[in-house]
Each structure stands twice: as C-alpha cells, then as structure tokens.
Point group: C2
C-alpha cells in the first residue's frame, strides 16, 4: 500500500474515445459521460427523495429477495416443451447474470415428478448391495463425516438440445440456461462407501432419488470413489427444495440428471442398472439409428451471455463489454476466443481465476464496436486441449437425431440497432 | 477415470468406531448407522407420501426461497444494541451456514439511515475534485467499462466489538455475524479515475453514498487505484437493495463501512475529508484516551461456527466435525489451528482452496470427541505470518475503550450434553 501504481493518463480513454463515432452514439441516444458533465442533470443538482428520508430498517427483511426492479431476472419455462410442468424444466436467466455463481433462487430446475417436500427428520440414505454392512444414515449421521466444499457447474444433458436442428430459441436463457454453478458442501461418497465396506467384486454404483420418479442412474465405481459429494449445502446455505433438499448427489463434470436429488439409496453392484433414465432417456441416437450410451461427461462449451437476444446493446458504437460463460467436464477452461465477424478473426478473452477446474468460468472481451452488424461467437478450449466444435462439425458426426450433448459454437447476430438474434452460419 | 483408487477397507470406520463409546451415544439418543440397519425403519420399509405423488412443477417459483424447514436461518437483530432499526445492524446466521459464499438473502445489513430504493435509470455516479474532467456516469455507462469478478469478505469494523469487555453474546451469529462473503462483479475504480484524469497532486479519494446519511470515507489514492471495484453484481445477480443496489464500492480487505453503498460520488483531493464516519465513528480509542484512526485493514481472524451456542452437538461421543471461517485483509489464510482444551494442545485444520486471498476461508477439523467438556478455539495465521491474538493480548495493547477491530480468539465451552456457551479463559 506504499507503492502508487503509475497512472495511465495518456492512454486512450474509453468513453471519450467514442466521440470519434459520435453519430452512432447519438443514434442510441447516449451521450458520452464526459459530455454529460457539461449538461445540468437534476439527478445531480437537486436533492432526491432517497437522500432526504429514511429507508428500510434492518428488521424489514430477515431473509431478503431481489429488488422489484430486477423482477424480470427469473427462471422461465417454455410452454410447448413438455406436456406438463411436473416432468419438465425451466431455465436460468444467464443473460442477466454476471460472475460465475448462480443464486439458488434463479438456478434452473429439472424434475421428473415435481419438487418434493422432505424434512431432515424424515430423511434416510440407504447403502446396500455388494457391501460388507448395509447401512442407513440419518441426516445427522451425515453431518459427522468429514466434509468438502467445492464449486461445480451442473449442466443438463439436454442443454442446447433444441438447437440440433438449427436456431430455435431466441435467447441465451433458453438455448443455454439449463445450467447453474454453485459452491457445494457435503461428504465425499467415498467415505460412506468405505463405512459400508465395498466388496472387491463391485464395479458399479447406482444412485436413486426419493421422489415418485425414482430417478436412478448407474455410475462406474471409480467415479463414485473419486470426487462425488453427498451434498447438503449450496452457496453456503441448505439446498433448496427444488434442488434436492435436504441431500443431493454432486457429480462434478457429469450430466445433470446424474446429480440425484432427494438422494435415498446407493446400491453397489457388478453391473449397471440400465434404468429408464439411461435407456429410453439420456442416450444419443446417431444418424444410423444406433445410440451412444454412458455419455456422462459434459464436453467443453461456452456461450456469450451479453450481448445476446435478451441482453441487447443499449448504446451506440464504441466500448462494448462482450461477456459469457465457459465450462468443461474434463478439466479447467484454458482459453476462450471470441469472434465478432462470424469466425473470420478471433480475439482471446480474459478469464477470471477459478478455485475449481470443474466450475463455470467467466470470460470478458473489451471490444471497440464500430456500430455495424456483428456475428458473435465464443469458442472454449479445456485443459485436455479439446476445442469446442461448430454445430456443423457435431452434426457431421452425430447426425440430427440427438437431443443431448450439443456443445456446438453458438452464434448471435447483433444488429446496428443493438438487438440480437439466434442465427446459424455455415 | 480408468484408475480405481485403493479402497481403505481396513481403515477405522467413522460411525462404527463410535460403538466403543456407546454409552455417550445412547445418552444423546443416536444409534450408530451400522446398528440402525438391523432395526426396521418405516422410512425405509414403507412407501412415503413424497414417493407416491407429484411435487411442485417448474413454474411454481420463478424466483425461489429457502424451504420452510430452514425458517430459522435468517438475519437477526439485537434489540438493545441501537436506538432504532434505521441506523442499525443485523447479523448473518454464520452458525447455520457452511462453505464460504454468503447468500445475499441472509447476508448482514448495516445502514446509517435505512436501505433506500434507487432504480437504475435514476442512478448517477459523479467524479469531481482534482481531475482533468469532472464526469457523471449513468448505470449504462458503467457497463461499458472492463469488468472484474472476485470473491471478497466484508467485515464490519464493529464485528465482535461487544466482546471487548468479556463474553457478551451467546452465539457465533451475534459475536461474529457482521460479516459476509460474496462474488462481486464490477468495474475497477482505477479505470473510472483514469477516464476523469487524476491530477498529479492528488493523494486522497473520497467516496460518498446516496442515502440520507451521506456515508462518506476517505481513502489513500493508492488503494483506489489498486483493487477497489465499483460493483453492480453480487453472487452473480444484481446487488440487493440492502447491499447498495444498484452500485456499491468493494474495498477488498478493508472495514465494511468503507464499502460505500448506493455510491453517488467520488471526489479526488490532496487531503482526507475527516468525515463524521472517520472521526466520531470508526476510530479506536485506547486506554489513555487517544484514538487510533485510519485503521482500515481487517486483521487475521477466525471463529468456530459449529459446534457453537446456536449449533449444539446433537449426538454423543465419537466423530465430530468442527468447522469455521477464517479471513484476513492482509492476504490469504495460510493455516488455522483448533484446540478443544482451551489452548493446551492445537491441531491444524483442513483449509479449502480459495480463488481470492481476500475471501472467507472455510476450515474443518475432523475430531474424535471423548464426550467430555471442551474449550474450543480457532487461531488463524495469514500470508504475512501474523497470528490471531488472544483477547487478553489485544486488551493489553488497546485497553477496553474500543468498539472496533476485535480480532481476538473466541472460546466456546461445549458441554458433555452438546450445548455450548460463549466463555472467556485466561
């Protein structure tokens, strides 16, 4: 704190640099801040009501909610997507968020038979099958085991699935909003399995939820002994009802339907279950009619969240922050490149540091917009060297029958008036 | 994923190891899980209502709240602490949280004249004083500057202040709950100051809030050009009204009253303001009646959040997770030691990795409790090598006149019945 960093007084200033493109700025109705200073502004020169009275006291909201001014930053549904709202999905408003943490309140939900109410005293977790000692744990039992805290993304296998056949949905919330990212606290499943004593011949573990759908998935035992958590906290507080309260599985890097909510049972075996959710669902049917199965890991992917159809540019040419999210189930994101000309030229975005490789990463590109149409894309590369493919490259290998695992590059057409559309380019 | 980690089937198991101390377990009414498996449990053997009907659909809660079962995890006030609730404070329920992120909904509030309602279209930020170009920014202007995202703790200077005179408040929420930790997104203030053009003779910067209290503080310009953010997002979404919506200052590592909420003005000068909030408040009066001032940085500190008076042990002897938070405004936490015998012996706790040194750190100690009384303390060491002092060591230097900057070691007496009390030991 004794060193004063050099001031960049000679550098090109951000907003005043825009004066050179004043025409486009005027089109959007925005005066550069440097010019505005010369204009009397009653919000500056006059005492405002919020500066002359009292606000809410500290007893007003024991548990607070967002201000009413942010009333549009909510989970949204697509009415035609499913037959009912019980076995359905909604979407995180990623176009309106920044940073990496997803608040629980607006983190997307996917239920197979609705979000159930299960109190901690009624909670039980059974471990059975190929173990030395079948066990039943209460919630209080789980709190006695060593804990870990880690931040992980959860992406639904169907995220971006409606885009296989071309640009379908006009907004990042709807194309890429089946994702959230929270800091989880829980017990490594490995410790519970060791408590039960896994028999040497065991090779698979099945996890099952307590809701009526009995959502159940099979896992190779290696994953369950590696980084899987039996989690009871998210973003510091208890899980929300819709995210599996009181206990869910956290399966870092793997598709969301495997993160079993309201976790009630772990069975150890020497073969997979071939449950409904891994035969009729969550397989990837290829062009020749055969299906890929056990496609658990979410490949590297990214999306520009702003500007985007629900987050248009509200100013003219000049400085523009292009930002988005990148993630991979196979390791940390090492680089994100952004293009504004449909892939002819790319610039490397800034990435914020992350404490866990399997968390969402936030990227920023500080761009000088010339005010003309842009074709904006982002392209992520993960620690394995894998580079996010184009949608056409994916289709060439997987065909058009898939619903799941579309990690192709997304394109937004951003027009001179600042509005954006979901488009495809070849 | 092809490597199967070795199974520790021979290691001492956690819960069954407790059988050796079965008397204490029975005292607390908890059977070890391994024994419970032999007892028919209707929650396992019978179909439960939540497994035989539908739960909430995905359109039930566009913005969700905690389940009613967690209704006690809220901000709380202490009625005798202040004359009214407008210029007052409440407390984060840190005893009931885990991990490091504090949800905005239960993150403590401190207002000097209440939480005001200020909409984005009405928001202005002025930069004036010793600058080449006085500027006024709208909210939309701020969104055009390069952004950073970082996680930081905010601690009120008065946190733990009531403990100067001895053990006062029975719960970590009340002794240490004037703290929260969020992931912030905003514009480095440095960029806005560069836009205005800081004159060479400037040495201080003042920041002022838009509420009626006009909370204002002076900062050495070096800090303002270093890591201070003009922030508009917390934990991914917009700031809440009570935390300064739409824009607040983030001052990593420094006391909370300097994180100006509803930020309306930045003035550049060659001397400090000596505002009310840095003369009559937020100075540390010593035993001889003189006061320390400019005590901006929060020193290394820690507290055990569980077990604690509001988070008693609900089981008998055997495995016990001791957990808490540690932080320092001077650099990352390098080590946290925990004692259960009032400081005679110490064990080093596990620390979870953190993306930012000036964020809260979570520590865990996995302890085999013998079922007798414990005097539990934690002691943090930061990257500078500074070690958190005892309260007595602090009092020897600072006397008993202080309200602020009590970072002394906290003691909980945890009794054989699992209940805990705030005590002092010498």
């Amino acid at each position: 704190m004794t060193h004063r960093p050099p001031l960049h007084t000679g550098r090109r200033r951000f907003l005043t640099a825009s004066l050179a493109t004043g025409g486009a700025m005027a089109t959007a109705g925005l005066l550069p801040a440097a010019a505005r200073a010369a204009t009397p502004d009653p919000l500056i020169t006059e005492v405002q009501p919020w500066a002359s009275g009292f606000g809410d006291g500290v007893d007003a909201h024991p548990y607070g909610l967002p201000t009413e001014h942010e009333g549009d930053v909510i989970r949204r549904t697509v009415s035609w997507l499913t037959a009912d709202t019980i076995s359905s999905i909604n979407f995180t408003p990623i176009h309106a968020l920044d940073g990496t943490i997803t608040p629980q309140g607006c983190a997307f939900e996917r239920h197979h038979s609705g979000a159930i109410d299960l109190a901690k005293p009624d909670y039980r977790l059974m471990i059975n099958g190929m173990v030395e000692r079948p066990l039943v744990f209460t919630y209080d039992d789980l709190e006695r085991f060593p804990r870990r805290t880690m931040t992980c993304f959860l992406e639904c296998a169907a995220n971006t699935g409606m885009e296989w056949a071309g640009a379908q949905l006009n907004g990042a919330q709807f194309t890429h909003g089946m994702i959230h990212n929270m800091e989880y606290t829980g017990v490594p499943l490995r410790l519970l399995l060791e408590e039960a004593g896994v028999k040497p011949e065991a090779t698979w573990v099945m996890a099952e939820g307590a809701d009526a759908s009995s959502n159940a998935r099979s896992f190779p035992i290696e994953k369950m002994l590696d980084d899987v958590l039996v989690a009871f906290k998210a973003n510091g507080e208890a899980l929300r009802k819709e995210h599996g309260y009181p206990v869910r599985l956290v399966v870092p890097g793997w598709e969301g339907n495997m993160w079993i909510k309201w976790l009630r049972r772990i069975e150890v075996a020497d073969a997979p279950w071939e449950s409904r959710e891994e035969t009729s669902k969550y397989t990837d049917t290829l062009a020749n009619g055969t299906s890929r199965k056990w496609t658990w890991v979410m490949d590297a992917k990214s999306v520009v969240t702003s500007p985007s159809p629900q987050s248009p540019i509200r100013h003219g040419a000049g400085p523009l922050v292009i930002t988005g999210l990148a993630w991979s189930g196979r390791g940390a994101i090492k680089q994100v490149d952004v293009t504004v000309d449909g892939g002819r030229t790319w610039q490397t975005a800034r990435l914020e540091p992350q404490s866990n490789p399997l968390a969402l990463h936030r990227f920023y590109l500080d761009h000088q917009w010339d005010g003309s149409d842009m074709l904006i894309q982002s392209r992520a590369m993960d620690a394995t060297g894998y580079v996010q493919p184009t949608k056409d490259a994916l289709r060439a290998i997987r065909g058009l029958n898939s619903v799941y695992h579309n990690n192709g590059i997304q394109t937004w057409l951003v027009k001179a008036n600042g509005e954006a559309e979901n488009v495809e380019i070849s």
